[in-house]
């Protein structure tokens, strides 16, 4: 049963990921990316991490994708903006490199020892142990992330604002 759910979510994630990279229109790509994010959130639930799955939907499918769609609307693109590289050689080469990378990654995975599936551990979904990790072992990364987000907000405003006097 658990395997069936995994297969369904994996197929949804992979097909919509393929649609993201093959569609010409950026809005279509963005909507398919939301589908991928939601399928990945489903996989996180299956792994027992309910809290991170909720974060995945709120941050990725919510905040980040809204930002993407907002910028797509803001840019007001012409029709010819959409599209791929017209050079056939480069597209073929991209596909070839992709296949080589996939083969390499699968070879790495196949060298790992086989780990059978386990029953879902509901303990993994609890927030309290995660928070304890954050405020003891990973305190400095947590604080640095807040500084990074502040720097990113200020940087985004500075980069995107119109230059005065032009």
């Amino acid at each position: 049963m658990a395997n069936v759910i995994f297969y369904i979510l994996a197929v949804i994630a992979l097909t919509s990921a393929l649609m993201v990279v093959t569609r010409k229109n950026a809005v279509t790509s963005a909507v398919y990316l939301i589908v991928t994010m939601c399928a990945i959130a489903g996989l996180f639930v299956q792994l027992g991490a309910v809290f991170i799955a909720a974060l995945q939907i709120i941050i990725y499918a919510g905040a980040i994708m809204v930002l993407f769609l907002f910028v797509i609307m803001l840019l007001n693109l012409r029709k010819d903006e959409f599209g791929f590289d017209t050079r056939v050689f480069q597209r073929l080469f991209a596909g070839l490199l992709g296949i080589v990378l996939l083969v390499q990654l699968i070879m790495v995975v196949s060298r790992l020892p086989v780990v059978a599936g386990q029953p879902v551990d509901t303990e993994m979904g609890r927030v309290a142990p995660l928070a304890t990790k954050f405020f003891t072992q990973y305190l400095y990364p947590f604080e640095i992330i807040s500084v990074l987000l502040l720097a990113a907000i200020i940087g985004a405003v500075v980069i995107a604002k119109k230059k005065m006097g032009k």
């Binding site: 990279v21 027992g48 995945q56 590289d85 490199l97 992709g98 993994m124 990074l148 987000l149 980069i159």
Partner: protein, 100 residues
């Protein structure tokens, strides 16, 4: 749940699709979405190992990756908007002044 290697192979496939998208597309927005796809593929790996090893550190890393992705998207989209103001285009081939 499914065996560990299933999650790793799914993650490898999603990562490859993301790399393929970066190599294939000329639209800067779709390239950014492909990068998000790659980050998510790595998140699946971290979460799968976290869950199979019963260690919360993997979830901490997923959390950090999400925060970095948010920061990266904010700055990246600001750069795209500012390039669009100058070039009237988001085709990455039009932004080639730094290319040798």
């Amino acid at each position: 749940m499914a065996p560990l290697s299933y999650y790793l192979i799914l993650s490898a496939m999603l990562f490859t699709i993301g790399v393929w998208g970066v190599l294939r597309n000329r639209n800067a927005l779709i390239i950014f979405m492909s990068i998000e796809l790659m980050l998510n593929a790595v998140n699946i790996t971290l979460m799968a190992f976290s869950s199979f090893l019963k260690d919360f550190s993997g979830q901490v890393f997923v959390f950090l990756v999400m925060a970095i992705a948010a920061a990266e998207v904010a700055v990246g989209l600001a750069i795209i908007v500012s390039i669009f103001r100058v070039k009237e285009s988001i085709n990455v081939d039009d932004v080639n002044l730094m290319k040798w």
